[in-house]
């Protein structure tokens, strides 16, 4: 008899879905703006007509060879890192978790750097190397954090700090030992999208879509983990298996991204956090929101980086760190974490 009152709970989330739609609309606007911005500027209407194949105000080389791949790459990178962060936050039941803080990014970076500096003939296997490096980091973090048959969130953060320090050290060591070959790796290390072409998009896109599909299958499990380990186990869930599945997806998303553009911090930390404030903690809405918002934030960071100080090209990773760091401190002060 009260069935109607149960069912109409879904409609109360309409506001959240409208917000998600707005973010994706903003994303399209930002993409058009970003294509027009740069050393040569074009108004949005010219960009749109060029995209539609009408009008020829914009040379194909600028639009299709330079700006379009870079714009697409920014979207993919932001979306992947944000999804990865949202999933890791579910696994560790901690809003501080993200691929950067847990060492997954630096783990991937080490193996990729080894290939760039020492084994340049294996360049094609860079994505796999990144996944291996990220997995090693994740396994290290989990085994350090593992105690009494369960993983405690505090220990995971602490071991993340340790693992990050170790990999950071290795990256530093490699940079000194092979300083002659470093310029090739420097742009990559900073999380820069400059000089990326359609080849990089073609490399990252299929992996990204695979990762996105996998994360949509994680929604139910991530939601149950919100109730805590014991309540999830009580509901008949194999908690540690869920954690492995979610972690593998998160590591995959972060690693393939790092393998193409290097370490981009803070997107995975801050975007899911803001998304949670806007649409709530239900992963049904949190994941799409993180995806759209991650893409938007990254695109904004990259576009700002390359147009604000033109002709200088500031890596998006640096822009994110400079904006993200203070924002992170602000969140901590506010006591949200």
């Amino acid at each position: 008899m009260n069935m109607r009152s149960s069912l109409n709970v879904d409609t109360s989330h309409r506001k959240s879905w409208i917000l998600i739609a707005i973010i994706f609309a903003l994303l399209i606007l930002a993409a058009i703006l970003s294509l027009g911005l740069g050393s040569v500027r074009f108004p949005p209407n010219e960009v749109i007509s060029a995209l539609l194949g009408k009008g020829n105000e914009i040379p194909d080389t600028i639009l299709w060879d330079l700006r379009f791949p870079r714009m697409t790459l920014a979207l993919l990178v932001g979306a992947n890192m944000a999804l990865s962060g949202a999933l890791l936050q579910a696994v560790m039941n901690n809003p501080l978790a993200d691929p950067g803080l847990t060492g997954v990014s630096s783990g991937s970076a080490v193996t990729v750097l080894v290939i760039i500096l020492l084994l340049p003939e294996f360049t094609s296997s860079i994505p796999f190397a990144a996944i291996i490096g990220g997995s090693i980091a994740a396994i290290m973090v989990y085994s350090l954090a593992w105690k009494k048959g369960s993983i405690s969130p505090v220990r995971i953060i602490l071991s993340g700090v340790a693992v990050n320090a170790v990999f950071g050290g290795i990256i530093g060591l490699l940079s000194i030992l092979y300083s002659d070959r470093l310029p090739a790796a420097l742009q990559w290390l900073n999380g820069s999208l400059s000089g990326k072409g359609i080849g990089d998009v073609k490399l990252l896109l299929p992996y990204s879509i695979l990762g996105w599909i996998a994360s949509m299958f994680c929604i139910r499990q991530a939601n149950i983990l919100r109730l805590g380990e014991q309540a999830a186990a009580n509901l008949g869930e194999k908690v540690n298996r869920i954690r492995v599945v979610l972690s593998v997806t998160a590591v995959f998303l972060a690693a393939i991204t790092v393998s193409v553009v290097g370490i981009v911090g803070f997107v995975g930390l801050i975007v899911p956090h803001i998304a949670r404030m806007l649409v709530g903690s239900d992963y049904k809405r949190l994941l799409p929101m993180s995806l759209g918002m991650g893409a938007l934030v990254m695109l904004a960071a990259d576009t700002a980086g390359r147009s604000l100080f033109a002709p200088l090209d500031i890596p998006a990773g640096i822009v994110m760190a400079m904006v993200g760091g203070p924002y992170f401190l602000y969140l901590m002060r506010k006591g949200d974490m």
Partner: protein, 267 residues
């Protein structure tokens, strides 16, 4: 119904529970009492398969729990732990609906039948007015009722409660215990709960299991278990035991040291 057979439980190589056995019959309401650190919660969690036993086994309806699928167990047995966490934007109804999870495959959505059960549990726990309220906006007693509603939605045959009244004031304690009794008597759910308050244990249970240092000291009706002697033995305090004129169950008054010495003098 639920049986613990010679359980040995270790934490970090240290034995916390030693040779613990308990047999609970269908429809019974059992309390586990004992001093802090006596292993009450540990025993309860082991019986619910949340923590592993080093030795011994737990049988649910005659089947070894370890050999059962965890999902199958969750359709028959539910445990509510002491401190529960939920996201701050979750509503009562959302929380309660998670109780249907054990009955769903990962790709299945909630059906109208599920919503009927959810509504029934919300009504049973008196939360109809609060169903769309967010969890942090609830009082301690209301929150505990919401979790119990989730447990009901699971439709368990056995309900394990780990100190369901901690953090609550006396009125809310009573409310939760009355609700538990209703669940036991009207729905026939077997209840095993860890309690601190001896009077609650006396009033609300058919049988009481007394734990001390990881061992079962006593198991019997409140009248058999709750005596001045056993309370002295277990808790090292003096207590006066009277009997309720209504239910005949023991009522315990724990004496202060001054009271105890006066009593001793008088005797």
């Amino acid at each position: 119904m639920l049986e613990a057979q010679a359980l040995d439980i270790q934490y970090d190589g240290k034995t916390v529970v030693n040779n613990f056995s308990l047999s609970v019959q269908q429809g019974e309401m059992i309390s586990i009492i004992g001093p802090n650190g006596s292993g009450k919660s540990t025993v309860l969690k082991a019986m619910s398969r949340l923590i592993p036993c080093h030795m011994g086994k737990v049988c649910l309806e005659g089947q070894d729990v370890r050999a059962m699928d965890t999902k199958t167990i969750s359709q028959m047995m539910c445990i509510l732990c002491q401190a529960n966490q939920a996201p701050s934007d979750m509503t009562v109804q959302e929380l309660v609906s998670y109780g249907r999870m054990p009955h769903k495959k990962w790709y299945q959505r909630l059906t109208p039948e599920d919503y009927e059960i959810i509504d029934w549990a919300i009504e049973k726990t008196g939360l109809s007015e609060l169903r769309h309220r967010k969890l942090p906006a609830l009082s301690g007693g209301e929150a505990q009722r919401a979790w119990i509603a989730m447990a009901l939605t699971q439709r368990p045959k056995v309900l394990l409660l780990d100190e369901p009244t901690t953090f609550l004031d006396i009125a809310h304690q009573l409310e939760v215990l009355e609700l538990t009794r209703t669940i036991n008597q009207e729905l026939g759910v077997t209840v095993i709960m860890v309690l601190h308050d001896l009077n609650h244990a006396s009033e609300y249970s058919d049988k009481i299991c007394v734990l001390r240092k990881g061992k079962q000291e006593l198991f019997g009706t409140p009248r058999e278990v709750l005596t001045t002697d056993t309370i002295r033995q277990i808790y090292h305090v003096e207590a006066e035991v009277a009997y309720s004129p209504v239910s005949g169950k023991p009522r315990i008054h724990v004496c202060s040291r001054a009271e105890a010495s006066k009593l001793w003098m008088a005797n």
